[in-house]
């Protein structure tokens, strides 16, 4: 009865999401007993494995370090996890684009269902998860012997550092003739990552155009915030899709969420309604966003934003 966590990492650094997944695993382990192991797969990942070994509650880090796992392509990575899955009752990953890409393939290779994006652990086989863009919460029970699960990281508090776990090498090398990495274009930014930021400042269709998103930058700089956007702003071509907060974009739950010129479509709210404090700035006082905002300011964002930047 042990749990395997597929570690998330970017640019040679263990992603914060993994510490949240370990927290979910600890809750499961409380019910089922057993150890929590972390799998770090990739090419040149020894530093990442060291970082994972420091996470509280982790018994063992298993490292699959090989060129075939570079960029964590789904085909070899799922074969690797499936190879190891026999030792475990649960396989967990963050519900990131990596986790979502790889884990269902693992589940099908093992002929089991996957439980996607859990937000609560009710038992070793019972979990709560949002459906219909967060407009309902389903409690589901897996009848499979192996549970394959993705975890919505914002729903679990990250574990801190603990005793250093042991690290062991996994020799299994999957072969991959199916897919090849070509390139990656990542937005470079000094700002924190949207999904893990303590403060998020988001703009909607009310921003009018992409150029006006600059108005959010000064505020984001002062607050150390990430910048997000509503789907309406993305669809209008103001900003790229990776800035999208919502059911079809990123799910965030920062301490402070500032929604500027966002009306509050259901799909957007599903992505931010678990934020601790929500501030809405909108000139339409009937905008649905005010129904969830702790603090609402009715006004023209082009007047409000410069003033806010100055007064922060």
């Amino acid at each position: 009865m042990s749990i395997l966590i597929f570690a998330e990492h970017h640019d040679g650094v263990l992603a914060g999401a993994t510490a949240h997944v370990v927290a979910a695993a600890q809750q499961i382990a409380k019910e089922s007993g057993g150890d929590i192991d972390v799998l770090v797969a990739g090419d040149g990942v020894s530093d990442i494995a060291e970082a994972a070994a420091k996470l509280d509650g982790v018994s063992k880090v298993r490292v699959a370090d090989h060129a075939v796992y570079a960029h964590l392509l789904a085909e070899p990575t799922s074969a690797l996890i499936a190879e190891l899955a026999g030792d475990y009752t649960h396989v967990l990953a963050a519900a990131s684009t990596n986790g979502k890409n790889v884990l269902p393939r693992v589940a099908a290779l093992q002929d089991v269902a996957q439980i996607s994006e859990i937000i609560a652990v009710e038992g070793a086989d019972t979990f709560a998860r949002p459906i219909y863009a967060g407009n309902a919460i389903a409690t589901v029970q897996s009848e499979d012997t192996l549970k394959v699960i993705t975890v919505r990281s914002t729903a679990f508090d990250a574990v801190s550092e603990g005793e250093r776990a042991s690290i062991e090498t996994v020799d299994f090398v999957a072969d991959n003739t199916l897919s090849m990495f070509v390139k990656e274009e990542l937005a470079t930014s000094d700002r924190p990552e949207l999904a893990g930021a303590r403060v998020v400042v988001s703009g909607g269709r009310g921003m009018g155009n992409g150029e006006n998103f600059k108005l959010l930058e000064g505020i984001a700089d002062k607050l150390g915030a990430a910048i997000g956007a509503s789907r309406a702003a993305v669809d209008a071509g103001f900003v790229p899709n990776d800035m999208q907060v919502g059911q079809t974009g990123k799910i965030v739950a920062p301490d402070l969420y500032l929604a500027v010129g966002i009306s509050g479509a259901i799909q957007h709210m599903a992505g931010m309604k678990d934020s601790k404090v929500i501030v809405a700035i909108n000139k339409d006082e009937e905008a649905p966003i005010f129904q969830v905002a702790d603090y609402g300011l009715v006004g023209d964002l082009f007047d409000v934003l410069p003033e806010l930047e100055q007064k922060l």
Partner: protein
């Protein structure tokens, strides 16, 4: 090259859903149903591949109750050549759907299968990846661009933090993200023509598989309501509240 497109019948994305009073499920009585938006993008991509001469014929497939034939007719009106309905009243989740689709893949031998990345009812985001596992095909999930050249698919994927491009050997499974294309609307003459296009109806038993879910739905509840707070009159008041009341900025 033959292209297989999977579509799902779901609640219309504009519908605000309600939970049944006994918390057994979501109440779908008299709720407007439609093709899942990500599946519309999948159909559109297949049609564009045909228009570019890459795809020779397009087969649309769905798994679900009899009423799901409406969504197949929509796919036919949008440009699919024929349709396959795997009829079942069971609650089918991703693994069951992937098993049914894998059987269809075996029979149809498509060069490409395009699916939506997730359905907006169960929000699972699994079926395409599972189908890739069961068929042993390559997978390009969350696609924002697909180029077919020299027996390979170059797929640009929406990933956390940006875009990733992978080259896949064919046959391949592709799941669509929002920006892949903007689906067209079906024109009336095409809707009329679609009624005459061929549709095969099969049962999961015909395919020799079981699709019933192994995940039990214990209960469905409405989410915790978030209460609205106060309106502030000025930027000064807002900054003051954030500093001294909410204490989220310093």
């Amino acid at each position: 090259m033959k292209v297989l497109v999977a579509v799902k019948r779901v609640t219309d994305y504009n519908v605000k859903i309600r939970v049944k009073p006994d918390n057994s499920d979501v109440d779908l009585t008299n709720v407007k149903m439609a093709m899942n938006p990500f599946c519309e993008i999948a159909v559109e991509e297949a049609v564009r591949l045909k228009e570019r001469g890459v795809a020779s014929d397009i087969v649309a497939v769905t798994i679900g109750p009899k009423a799901a034939q409406e969504q197949l007719r929509t796919a036919l009106a949008l440009g699919a050549d024929r349709a396959i309905h795997i009829e079942t009243d069971d609650r089918v989740e991703s693994l069951g759907a992937a098993k049914a689709l894998a059987k269809v893949v075996e029979e149809e031998q498509p060069g490409l299968v395009i699916l939506g990345k997730q359905a907006i009812d169960t929000d699972n985001n699994q079926t395409g990846q599972m189908l890739a596992a069961l068929t042993g095909f390559s997978q390009g999930t969350f696609a924002s661009e697909v180029v077919i050249e020299n027996d390979k698919a170059q797929v640009t994927r929406e990933i956390d933090g940006g875009l990733q491009t992978v080259e896949l050997s064919l046959p391949a499974i592709i799941t669509t993200d929002l920006r892949l294309n903007e689906p067209r609307y079906a024109k009336l003459p095409d809707i009329m023509k679609a009624k005459k296009k061929p549709m095969d109806v099969k049962s999961p038993a015909d395919l020799g598989i079981e699709v019933a879910s192994r995940v039990k739905l214990l209960k469905v509840e409405p989410p915790a309501e978030r209460k609205g707070g106060v309106k502030v009159g000025s930027v000064d008041e807002l900054v003051d509240k954030l500093k001294n009341e909410a204490k989220v900025i310093s």
